[in-house]
Amino acid sequence: MATMAQKPQTRSLPQEFEQMFRKHHELVYRAAYRVTGNAEDAEDVLQTLFLRLLRQECPPQFETSPKAYLHRAAINIALDILKSKSRNVSTDEVESYIEDGRPSPDRQRGASEIQNWLRTALAELNPRTAEMFVLRHIEGYRNAEIAKMMGTSRGTVAVMLFRARLRLQKSIRKHLGEIV
């Protein structure tokens, strides 16, 4: 008896979606790379974010300002990854980064470790505060822009950034003892 089974056909991505991906993937990947510090996680962020878009799980903000949404979403997904990966950083490695300005294997390793420490510290911040901090100090947005993006006032942004900065400085002092 003949069967009615049909060969599954490969569906190409919606043209509009693919265009959006090609337009914004660099922004997302770079932002994610800066936050997570490695290519693998940045690629995960890129995939996770655009998979959400493919499934149309995007909030209304995406419709009005896709670039800003993608930037923020990339940071948040990256921060989520940081949180899941948070681990302790060796004090010795950090010390080598601080004391010596010369390029050396130890120094390079120390720079990497202190970046990792920063990422771990960011993961311990309140997510909203961490997002503001990254937007301001890593991605370079101004307070007014952040306030607009996050739907709050410039004053609130300034206060939260100040507190975050204090906390991170306190954290790094605590982590490194009297070195800093």
Binding site: S12, L13, E26, A39, E43, F50, I81, I114, I138
Partner: protein, 779 residues
């Protein structure tokens, strides 16, 4: 030295990211996204009905891919707010375990979960059982509760009249009005409307159509009671949009198509995309440009080529100024059949033999027929001021000498005829000479350039069995009355028979030289007729007609009277002024276009007649009736005569009115139901009529009626005459009678009658009284 935090942040900000690394990552992600896109389930057809958490979970991937209908998506959102396990399942599917996440649950944790799973499973099993029991009895309500679908439409545009019809009432809808589920919506005569469903689908509703919005298993269902719709279905993200008629269901997921539903059946035409048609147990997919008809009567008949004549050498010999023409087959076989049947009857009753020609005469007639060709032509010429223009009979002489001998043996051999040049011609000497002259000078016949000849040659091209054509314009003198009636525009009358595979079909066409007007213009274009649904399948006889506009008809009648009988129109004006009634506005305007008369019930002691009239404004019509009764009674009182009584009461929510005429005590009952006025001599007949419509067990679905519908390719009719006397009358009166149906079509410049019964030539079959005629004539 800058604080270490700033230095670290600067380093991070300036992190070197190689462009090729970015692009490679992007390429990999794009590939994964494409793979993921192909995992998306566009339509979770496996879950037709949601009855358990398992069903909900099966829909989660589709929900996350946004390929569910908004109704189903809302249902899942509601459920996951209530159900923790489903919410977790959704979360898990939404955020699959990331490779960087912590370790999986321990064995003990999983064991504990398993125990809880069994308990929950037992609970859910019980719940599902209870749900199933409840579902069996209240499935529709439960389905609507669990799985709501937004079933409503907005009237976007209305051209003419759009109504929402309830049992005893009818309301006008305007553009912007909302149409809810289960409301019966109807367009009026020469009206159309555009409805938009909640999902954006558009329904263009043509005139005299009726539909109801309902829900199907997984989408909105448009129940098309009658008429035509053109549906532009919005893309159904899940489920289907349905159009259901009496005999088929169309399901689509996004396309443009048309559905016609009439007495003859349903027709589906696909404009764009693809639709699926379910007709009984058969399913069929239709693509753009394809059609499906549920009834062969909707298809153009496929003629049996051997029985039809497509050419004729004799037409060229028809005299000039011929105004009537007939092409008949050689009737030898028919003569034989009639003669054999008669001889059989004579053997049973020898007294009949005295009323029939002798066997010798009949044998010679049969011989004459044997020597003639297959076609016999009769032409009737007409020329002003000329006499001796006798009709002409022309046939091919197959055996001239034998033919001459056979004719000379006939008792009435004084008939002028000639057998010459292979022709047998019967007519006056002058006309015989004219025909022979045309035979000698081929191509010189002026008749070949007339409109009548064009019509005749057109009929031959389509194929004929027998054919009659008349130039009505020349036959009917132009008088004021014929002008008023619109008959002055009539050009040709054509009556023809065609033998098809499923039996003969007959057609009469009255053509006009412009758009029908006057009385001829009253007949509406073919349209669905709802009045038929109030008639039972056992009706003796029905006559129904769809008119264009009763108000315009009244105007035509008044105009006719004004020109031809001014006194009559003065009397009408006087009547209207005296009783303060405007016949056109108060009586005609509330009416729709359908009128039906039926004998539908016992003939004795009084015929069970009924009249069904389409009504657009029952309240206004009832008000007019009450006013007329009151005016009649006022006049009667002044003359000290008994008046007419009008009473009303309500039975089972149905209003009934009774008019009693005191002189005879005769009562007429009427009511308004579903946009129609039902009139009958008995209330029981009214109640039965309502039941026929409500249950669908009407004449429109009876086999006797449907079997008589001519297969002429038309979806609707403008009127019809139907009889089925054999069903109830004694067989000795209606012997050999079968149901018969003549359909009437009003087209722009012609009126067409079509039937499976012979029109005109065998009247007894049409009226079903062949037995009665036989009794009267022979005895």
């Amino acid at each position: 030295m800058k604080p270490i935090l700033d230095r670290v942040l600067r380093t991070v900000r300036n992190l070197e990211i190689k462009p090729e690394e970015t692009e490679q990552a992007a390429a990999r992600v794009l590939s994964k996204l494409t793979a993921e896109h192909n995992k998306v389930v566009p339509h979770p057809a496996i879950v037709e009905r949601i009855t358990s958490c398992q069903d909900f979970r099966a829909l989660i991937p589709a929900y996350l891919s946004r390929s569910l209908t908004s109704a189903r998506a809302m249902l899942i959102e509601d459920h996951t707010r209530e159900c923790v396990r489903c919410r977790k399942a959704m979360e898990y599917d939404r955020h699959p375990r990331h490779p960087h996440e912590g370790p999986r649950a321990t064995l003990s944790q999983r064991a504990a979960r398993t125990t809880r799973t069994y308990r929950l499973a037992a609970a859910w099993t019980m719940a599902a059982g209870l749900l199933l029991i409840a579902g069996l009895s209240q499935w529709n309500a439960i389905r609507d509760f669990l799985w709501p679908i937004d079933v409503h439409a907005i009237a976007q545009a209305v051209d003419g009249n759009l109504f929402v019809v309830s049992d005893a009432d009818i309301h006008t809808l305007n553009a912007g009005d909302r149409i809810d589920r289960d409301r019966v919506v109807r367009t009026g005569k020469e009206s159309s409307a555009v409805l938009q469903l909640a999902d954006g689908s558009r329904i263009e509703v043509q005139e005299r159509s009726e539909l109801t919005l309902d829900r199907g298993d997984d989408g909105v269902k448009i129940r098309l009671g009658r008429g035509s719709v053109v549906v532009t279905a919005a893309k159904q993200r899940s489920g289907h949009l349905y159009v259901a008629t009496n005999d088929l269901i169309v399901s689509v997921v996004g396309t443009k198509f048309a559905v016609n539903a009439g007495v003859k059946g349903s027709r589906v035409s696909v404009v764009e995309g693809e639709v699926h048609v379910q007709n009984g147990s058969t399913a069929q997919a239709l693509r753009a440009g394809q059609q499906f008809a549920s009834n062969p009567a909707l298809s153009t008949p496929s003629p049996a080529a051997t029985d039809l004549r497509y050419t004729s050498d004799l037409v060229n010999l028809v005299p000039a100024n011929t105004v009537a023409f007939a092409s008949l087959p050689n009737l030898k076989e028919a003569v034989d059949e009639v003669y054999d049947a008669f001889r059989k009857r004579v053997r049973e009753d020898p007294s009949l033999g005295t009323r029939w020609p002798s066997d010798d005469v009949m044998n010679r007639v049969r011989q004459v027929a044997t020597y003639l060709g297959p076609e016999i032509i009769i032409a009737v010429p007409l020329r002003d001021g000329e006499k001796d223009l006798a009709p002409v009979l022309i046939a091919e002489a197959l055996q001239p000498e034998s033919l001459k001998a056979a004719i000379q043996g006939l008792p009435e051999s004084r008939i002028p005829f000639v057998v010459d040049s292979g022709l047998f011609i019967v007519s006056s000497p002058r006309m015989i000479d004219e025909v022979l002259a045309l035979r000698r000078q081929a191509g010189s016949n002026p008749f070949l350039s007339t409109a009548l000849y064009q019509r005749i040659s057109s009929a031959y091209r389509e194929g004929i069995t027998w054919f009659l054509a008349a130039d009505v314009q020349k036959l009917l003198p132009a008088r004021p009355a014929t002008m008023e009636l619109g008959l002055a525009d009539a050009q040709q009358l054509v009556i023809e028979q065609k033998n098809a595979k499923d039996g003969p079909s007959y057609r009469a066409v009255l053509g006009f030289n412009q758009t029908r007007r006057g009385m001829m213009g009253w007949l509406a274009d073919p349209a669905p007729m709802g009045a038929l649904e109030f008639v039972s399948s056992n009706a003796y006889g029905v006559a129904a007609i769809a008119m264009k506009d009763p108000s315009l008809i009244i105007e035509d009648v008044f105009a006719f009277l004004q020109r031809n009988n001014p006194q009559a129109i003065r009397n009408i004006d006087d009547f209207q002024n005296r009783h303060r009634i405007d016949i056109r506005h108060d009586l005609a305007a509330p009416l729709g276009g359908e009128f039906l008369f039926a004998v539908d019930g016992p003939i004795l002691p009084a015929p069970a007649w009924k009249i069904i009239v389409e009504v657009y404004d029952p309240a206004r019509l009832q008000n007019t009736i009450q006013w007329m009764v009151s005016e009649t009674n006022r006049e009667a009182a002044a003359k000290q005569q008994p008046g007419v009584s009008l009473s009303s009461d309500t039975v089972d929510g149905r209003p009934f009115y009774t008019v009693t005429f005191p002189a005879t005590s005769y009562k007429v009952h009427y009511t308004f139901w579903q946009g129609y006025m039902l009139i009958a001599p008995d209330r029981t007949l009214l109640i039965e009529a309502m039941q026929y419509r409500d249950t669908g067990a009407s004449l429109a679905r009876s086999d006797n009626f449907l079997s008589q519908l001519p297969a002429d390719g038309r979806d609707y009719v403008s009127g019809f005459i139907y009889q089925n006397l054999a069903l109830n009358l004694p067989q000795n009166i209606v012997s050999n009678a079968v149901p018969s149906l003549i359909c009437l079509y009003g087209e722009q410049d012609r009126i067409v009658l079509s039937s499976k019964a012979m029109i005109g030539t065998k009247l007894s079959n049409i009226v079903g009284l062949s037995g009665l005629i036989d009794q009267v004539w022979l005895r």
